[in-house]
Symmetry: C2
Subunit: 367 residues, 2 copies
Amino acid sequence: MEGLEALVALTLVEGLGPVTIRRLVRRFGSPAAALEADRGEIAAVDGIGPLLAARIAEARPRAEARREIERALAAGAAIVPYTDPAYPAPLAEIYDPPVLLYVKGAFAPEDRHAIAVVGARRCSLYGAAQAERLAGQIAAVGMTVASGMARGIDTAAHRGALKARGRTIAVLGSGICRIYPPENRGLAEEIAASGAVISEFPPSMGPQRLNFPLRNRVLSGLSLGVLVVEAAGRSGSLITAAQALEQGRLVFALPGRVDSITSRGTHALLKDGARLVESVEDICAELPYLFPPRAPAAAAGGPAPPRPRLTPEEEAVLAQLGPEERAIDEITASCALPPAAVASALLSLELKHLANQLPGKMFRKPC
Amino acid sequence: MEGLEALVALTLVEGLGPVTIRRLVRRFGSPAAALEADRGEIAAVDGIGPLLAARIAEARPRAEARREIERALAAGAAIVPYTDPAYPAPLAEIYDPPVLLYVKGAFAPEDRHAIAVVGARRCSLYGAAQAERLAGQIAAVGMTVASGMARGIDTAAHRGALKARGRTIAVLGSGICRIYPPENRGLAEEIAASGAVISEFPPSMGPQRLNFPLRNRVLSGLSLGVLVVEAAGRSGSLITAAQALEQGRLVFALPGRVDSITSRGTHALLKDGARLVESVEDICAELPYLFPPRAPAAAAGGPAPPRPRLTPEEEAVLAQLGPEERAIDEITASCALPPAAVASALLSLELKHLANQLPGKMFRKPC
C-alpha cells in the first residue's frame, strides 16, 4: 500500500507521464524511493528538470494520493499497477503503458484476445446496428470487445458484446468515479459486472479533452486490432487507427455508402490498407494463430490437425451435431442451453470449421 | 468489300473464334484466301481439324455473310475490322480481340481513355444513383464511359455520361440489330448519336447466354480500368473484374453497406485489392500519366510543370478565374456556356489542379 500510494502520488504530478515515472522508478528502485529522493538527483533524471522535480517534492505528503485511492476503493475499483500480474500483457508491450489502472470488475484470461471496436459519437443507424452486430460476433467467438463507452458506436459495441453474453472492457477518458457520458452509468455497471471498466486517470478527474488521445492509446494497446465502424473525415477514430498501426496492431474498417459522411473516415482507412470487415470472419482470417484456416483434406496417414479449444457450451452443442443436418431449435431443445448461447456456440463452431450451416438455420458436422 | 465479306463469313462459322481466325488469315494471307484455301491445308492449321475445316468450306458461298452485312448497313452500322485504323487500340492489345466490330455511331480519340462502369442488373437505388454520378464525373474529366447497356447499373452509367454531355460506348451481348433489353432501344439511339453502340456478334443474333462473358472481355479490353458499382456475391461483374486483371486493366469498386446483398461482390473485390472509389478522383489518382498529381511547390528557378491539355470549354471557364473567388453563376454568365458545361469544366479544372472550389459553389485559381 505504501508503494501504491507513492505510485499514485507520482501519477498526480502534473506534466509527469508514464515513461518518465517508469524511468524514475528504475533509477531509484521503487516509487517510494523515487518520491523521497534528493531533489537534485531527481532533476538530473532524463526528462525531469528543476520544475518537475519541485512538483514531485510537493507530492511527498501523499494526502491527495490517499484521497484518490479512497475514492477508487469507495467506488468499488481495484488499483492495478504495471507490476501486477493482472496488468494486461498486450498493454504492457506498448511504448508508454499507464503505470496503473483503476479497474471496476476484473480482467479475464480471454482479454488477451481483445478487439477494440470504435467509431463516431454521431453515428448513423447503420453504424450503430453494425457495431452491435460485429461486437456480438467478436464476443461470440471468445474474444473480448474493448471500447471507449462514448455515445454512438462505442455504446453500441459494448451493448452488442453484453447481449452476446461476451466479455467487454470499457476504457474511460475520465476518472473511474466520473462516468461519462452520464446516461451510460447503468451501462458501466453492467460492463463492470461481467467485464471491466478501466481508467488510468485519477478517479475524480472529469472527461478532459486531452485525455481522449491518451485513452485511445490504451484502447488499441489492450487489443490485437482496432475495428473502426464509422468515422467522419477527420476524427479521433482515425487517430486511434494511426496509433494502432504504430503499436503494431491490426486495423479493420467497416465500409458504408459513399454518400454517408460517417463512412468517409473508414473509406480513407480502407484506401490506406485497413482490412475490410463484413463479419467477424474477416477479423479471424487475420488471426490465423487463434483461428486456424480450414485445413486442406488430410493426406492419408497424416496426423489429424489439433482440435481448437472449446467452451463447455460449444462442447455441448457439438455433441448434438452429426452428419445429418438438424434444425437450430432441435439442437437447442436437446442440449438444454438458452437459445442465444446455442446460436453463439454454433457461430463459433462454424468459425472453427466444426459445424456447417445449411439454408433454413440447419446445422451439421462438416463432411 | 470482298475481304470484309470473307472475314464476316469466317466469323459466322460455328466454333471458330477470333484467335483462330487471325491464325488462318496469317497462314493464308487474307480472309478471302483463308476461306478459299484447300480443306486439307485448313485442317492442318493449329486449332482447326477436319470438322471446322468442313464448316469453313460450307461458308464459301458467303450468302449468309452478305445478309448480315446488309442488315448491319440497313441499321446504320459500320463494320470495323481489326485491321482498320479506327479499331480501338486498347482492345487490339488483348489476347483475343474480336476480328471485327459492328459500330453504330463512331469512335473518337478520347475513347483511348475509357473506364468501364458495370454492375448488377438488379441493383439498389444507391447503386443506380452512384453509377450515374460516377459516370457523369468520368465523362466530365474527358474520359469515355464504357458499359454493357444491361438493366440496372449499366443503364445508369450510360445515362450519367449522357447527362454530363460526355462520351459513352455501349458494348452489346447481342447483334447490333437486336437491342436488348428492348426498353433500351431509345437509349441505344441516344448513345449512338454522340458515342457508339458496338457488337462483335452477327447483327441478327439474339442475346445468348454465352455471349455475355465474351462481351465482358471487350468491355474491359476497351478500357483502362473497370469500375464495379454493385455486384452480388457471384456475378458476371466479378468475372469481368477477373478478366480485367488478366488483361492488365485496373479494377475499381464502390463500397456500400455490408447488409446490402448488391455490395457483397464489390466488397469481395475490395478485399482482393481493388481500388476503393468514392469519386472520380480515386480513379484519376491511379492514372497519373493522364492526371498528374499536384506538383510540389516548384523549386526556385526550376521549370514550370507542363499545363495539361484543356478542352475549349475548360479554356473559356479558366479565363474567368482569378485569385479572388467567384460564384459559379457569375462564371456561367461571363463565359456564355450552358450551366452544365460550366459545372463539368470546373470539376475537370479542379482535378487538373487549375481551379479550387470554396464553400458555396465559389471558385478561384489555386494560390
